[in-house]
Subunit: 389 residues, 2 copies
């Protein structure tokens, strides 16, 4: 039970800095600790950092987690933009790049493209593919997380059931995790700014609308990886609005960026994307301000139900439209505080995203690092490595 992986966890968390700490914390025999530590040292996951000041005798050797023992590569793939990062094992980005790309070109075009840019990032930081300990990919659609396969993603033709880990296995000997983009954004915001909150919702309001759910400090993906798909919850009084999903009155069809741009276009404005809508709001255009505020109210209706159902400690609003967050959040807050139960809203924080466009890559890196440095995973990797030697 208390394998090398658990020792690494104690060292990473700063709960053990000497061999004596490890013995005391685990109850393992001194010889067992030494043996497991040798393995961690051999794998360069831990290094010895010289002696500490002591009350006499030889100072004990200090142990530290080697966050440079390898790196992780992550890609946050949006519908039309993407962001790629190479980070160390503490989640610190070492190299980063953003690109325009089109996810609808399918995995056989997009993944080779990602791989090429991953190689460029590696070169930039002077590392090789063999240094890669894990890969994380976020995509704008539902994912069967355990298999790393998108499942019936509406805006990702060609990706349904495609094994992303299978594709990368040709190039890297490392685990590949794939998740819905709002999930990794939720994880990024939570890890960076909200670690004291147990339950958090991250809502992305862009062309579409989706929600990442942190329950008990972990991503809640649901039975089919479809959790958080709030964009297709019906809102009252809009049964005349047909959604791309085939239903009527969906939140996304009423309050998503595309819907808002369409309404502005009909009123004679030049507005194709969410960003155009935000530009008009920033320019002080009253109609744009009004429709974003209304969108906030509609989002608030759905979130009021989610607050009653889930009782989160914080709701973080991100995505392109959230750049007009004063107007959007005003509408959201108005309806949530009107409709949700006082007990559930008394301490509820409703705030704009602080990581902005970088929430996804930061969350993806954390997801991969937590996976590869999980005590059981470490023990298995070591076992496999030893068997191969």
């Amino acid at each position: 039970m208390t394998g090398a992986g658990s020792l690494l966890r104690l060292i990473r968390d700063g709960e053990a800095v000497t061999r004596a700490d490890l013995v005391r914390r685990t109850g393992l025999a001194r010889s067992t600790v030494a043996q497991r530590l040798d393995v961690l040292l051999a794998h360069q996951l831990v290094y010895e950092a010289g002696g500490s000041a002591s009350t006499g005798g030889r100072p004990p050797t200090l142990l530290a987690f080697n966050q440079g023992a390898g790196l992780v590569l992550v890609a946050d793939l949006g519908a039309t933009h993407s962001r790629l990062v190479a980070s160390d094992l503490a989640g610190v980005p070492l190299s980063e790049a953003t690109y325009d790309m089109d996810i609808a070109e399918g995995p056989e075009v997009v993944l080779p493209w990602v791989h090429e840019r991953f190689l460029a990032l590696l070169k930039e930081v002077g590392r090789a593919p063999r240094d890669v300990r894990g890969i994380g990919v976020g995509v704008p659609g539902p994912v069967a997380f355990s298999r790393g396969e998108p499942v019936a993603p509406p805006i990702m033709p060609g990706w349904d059931g495609f094994s992303v880990p299978g594709w990368f296995s040709k190039h890297y000997d490392a685990p590949v995790l794939v998740d819905n983009d709002v999930n990794i954004m939720a994880l990024g915001e939570h890890w960076t700014h909200w670690r004291d909150v147990e339950h958090l919702l991250y809502v992305k309001v862009g062309t579409g609308i989706g929600c990442g759910i942190v329950a008990d400090r972990h991503i809640h993906r649901g039975a089919q990886g479809a959790a958080g798909d709030i964009g297709h919850i019906r809102i009252a009084g809009h049964d005349d609005v047909v959604c791309r999903c085939g239903n009527v009155g969906c939140l996304e069809a009423v309050a998503g960026g595309r819907a808002l741009a369409h309404r502005l276009t009909q009123a004679g404005f030049e507005a194709k994307t969410s960003r155009d809508v935000v530009s008009l709001v920033r320019a002080g255009e009253p109609l744009a301000i009004q429709i974003v505020r209304d969108a906030g109210r509609h989002l608030g209706e759905v979130l009021a139900s989610s607050v009653n159902f889930f009782n989160p400690g914080a709701i973080v609003i991100g995505g392109d439209i959230s750049d007009a967050h004063q107007q959007l959040l005003a509408g959201v807050r108005e309806v949530i505080f009107q409709r949700s139960l006082p007990l559930a809203t008394g301490d509820l924080r409703i705030v704009p995203s602080r990581l902005g466009d970088r929430a996804g890559v930061i969350g993806a890196a954390i997801m991969v690092i937590e996976h590869i440095l999980d005590p059981d995973a470490i023990d298995k990797a070591i076992e496999a490595g030893v068997a191969a030697a």
Copy 2:
């Protein structure tokens, strides 16, 4: 890390039946295992069950969890009924009783009454208060779980902020856990019939409407213990219906047992409670059938949103009105399958409760047992016991 509690967990789960198993599974030294096992044996949490057939030599002693090492007392307190159980440490009820009572009389009346009946249950099974290892209480309102205090419960005057554990501490030297009644019902159904499902909703449709949420096999209580309060989610087209919470169009005010009874009364029927409504449905009264089916549709609207948001593997419907479950579930299924995303409904089970009125006490017993036999709790209890000796 691998204390006596972890050894007990391995023995309880049947993963270790000999000392050799424990050494192999934990990596602890044989002497350490022996020492920790001695503590478990001394506390009578484990007993030795004689030798097994062996291939030669002395057969190894078998180890077994002593589920009679103590018992737990639980009370599922409803608005007007309650059920009390004394169970062993495996959750098997040893003695059980139901009563009419009125929770609105307040804790200073209800808790002495519960205590008296607990003593009667103990007497019935020939045990004393000192044999009680834990107490569990379910109440029909939100609870600050960590403190065991009801929080602003609408139908429980006098209970707001009242420390239930504090009251019981005068009589028992054992932990007291208090939870919302639908949470323990959800746990009872999950533990008994749905352990292979990770995420489950238990919906109670009685006088009021509430939901217990199992996320990743654990009760999700939310930031203030208010999670699952779906009774006050607004449903479209009923802004003329005022709810007892002060808002309009709440699910409970439209589809709860009281609302249905009221509608039948207005139509000239004799119907005061949820059970009267069910009787009329069973008697084949068309109007009663129609309003229960409609109630199912309204509940389905709210649950369709919860399915999109949470993506559960199963939804279990319980409570008084669910005794008319064919009609109720027909309405629920109709709307969920129409409104929720195909990915989230493909494998979704929507079923009536199988434990019925006993879900609460079974769940409460499991909640208490998992708490007191949690490895860390065992280690702490042993430490405290040793310190006192």
